[in-house]
Symmetry: C2
Subunit: 258 residues, 2 copies
């Protein structure tokens, strides 16, 4: 019998979030699971790493599953670095991040701690997937997406991922409807139209809360937004090479040395 895969599980909502507890349970059926996750919510942390302060790592026992678990004081990207360099004694076969409570489709991939953990794993040479459910509720129902998460993880273990590719998987909120299917997509052109909620503290000093509305500028049917709005899960292959190769030639014509 082949050796069971070693699966690193992390997230950005913190080690006790229902989303990661679901993911851990599903992964225990596939391989040997080690969890290294933030000790508190880290939403919106993007690809932040901790360079100006210290990091703590603490063994945890959140439930009775067979997994080994650690919480850290760091960001999601820190968790992956700590897992690889301090917690694990071999490179994991796969890293799964999530299941995030809320969407990480489209432009949200940039702000997402869930996806940054997965991308960090990708940078470190570990096949990686970020999972998100488009439901910000702490009580979100992960049940209907469980089998699909398992399928996607198994396919990645089976096929591997090329160097530099990470999967960004988002599921729509299903509300009792069956998932229509899984669609390979590109990242939609979309944006947050922000507003700041300006308030005054009891001392009369102004402060702001970031708020805003997500707006898609992209009507094509090959995007993650289209898939999610039409009852499909979206799978976007993501790269961390940000070079806009199509603009290099034009930029050269600017003659920056003149």
């Amino acid at each position: 019998m082949p050796k069971k895969p070693l699966i690193l599980v992390t997230n950005d909502d913190g080690i006790t979030a229902p989303g990661i507890r679901t993911l851990i349970r599903l992964m225990n059926a596939i391989g040997d699971v080690v969890v290294v996750a933030p000790d508190s919510p880290q939403s919106g942390m993007g690809h932040a790493i901790t360079v100006n302060t210290t990091l703590q790592v603490k063994p945890e026992r959140v439930d009775n599953g067979p997994q080994r678990e650690y919480s850290t004081s760091g960001t999601p990207a820190d968790c992956v670095k700590l897992a690889k360099h301090e917690v694990l004694d071999r490179i994991p076969d796969i890293c799964v991040s999530g299941i995030n409570h809320g969407s990480n489709s489209s432009i949200n991939v940039l702000y997402s701690g869930t996806m940054s953990a997965a991308i960090e794993a990708g940078i470190e040479g570990i096949p990686a997937i970020g999972f998100s459910l488009c439901d910000y509720n702490w009580d979100a129902d992960f049940k209907p997406i469980e089998e699909h998460v398992t399928t996607i993880v198994k396919k990645v273990i089976e096929n591997g991922l090329p160097e530099g590719i990470i999967l960004n998987v988002n599921f729509p909120k299903l509300d009792g409807q069956p998932l229509k299917g899984i669609k390979v997509c590109r990242q939609a052109k979309a944006n947050w139209v922000e507003e700041f909620d300006k308030r005054r503290n009891p001392q009369g000093k102004e402060y702001y809360w970031l708020t805003g509305k997500f707006v898609s500028f992209d009507d094509d049917d090959d995007t993650d937004e289209w898939a999610l709005n039409n009852g499909y899960a979206s799978v976007v292959p993501v790269t961390y090479d940000l070079t806009a190769k199509h603009f290099i030639e034009q930029l050269n014509s600017w003659n920056l040395n003149d």
Copy 2:
């Protein structure tokens, strides 16, 4: 006479850093400058945004220049959002971020607060450039790169940038040598080989400092690392569409719906 351009200046090293003070001085010669920058260093913050706590904005007067200045309690990406939505009464003609004390070439673009501010501006439809000098020193000598920063900003104001393109500009540490030139590049394949420095606090509890060595796996002469190692400034056009388009077809062949 055409109206002077409105220039938004930000950074991740904090509003008092010599790098941003240099950039403000240079921009005052080109246009009307508004500074919205973090009140304290935010290195390594990546594309973090502040969603779980409040934000403060404070008028500042750091020197006697003609610019308007504000510090914020937020991340570099927050600064750009606050600038656009709360501080400025019209969309700036350009956003410049930096000059960072230290490299943001290659994979560092992901961890960089400097570049995330520029990318955030790009997302918001503002032509944007991140500038970095490969010298982590607070006393770094920005003098030799000043004219090149000015040239690049003027070229971007003149030519504009297509939607979704941001420039990542890095300068080598010059140590008295003249800059050999400015090269348009792609992001090098490189990585941090991390180590954690494990210590014990006075109470005997373990903690870690992130440390590591930057290693390039890319010997080609069209990369930012090559340029910087050979005395050139690197200009990488950057996109925030992370879709790995070349992998979509292969991923479809996996039949994720079976």
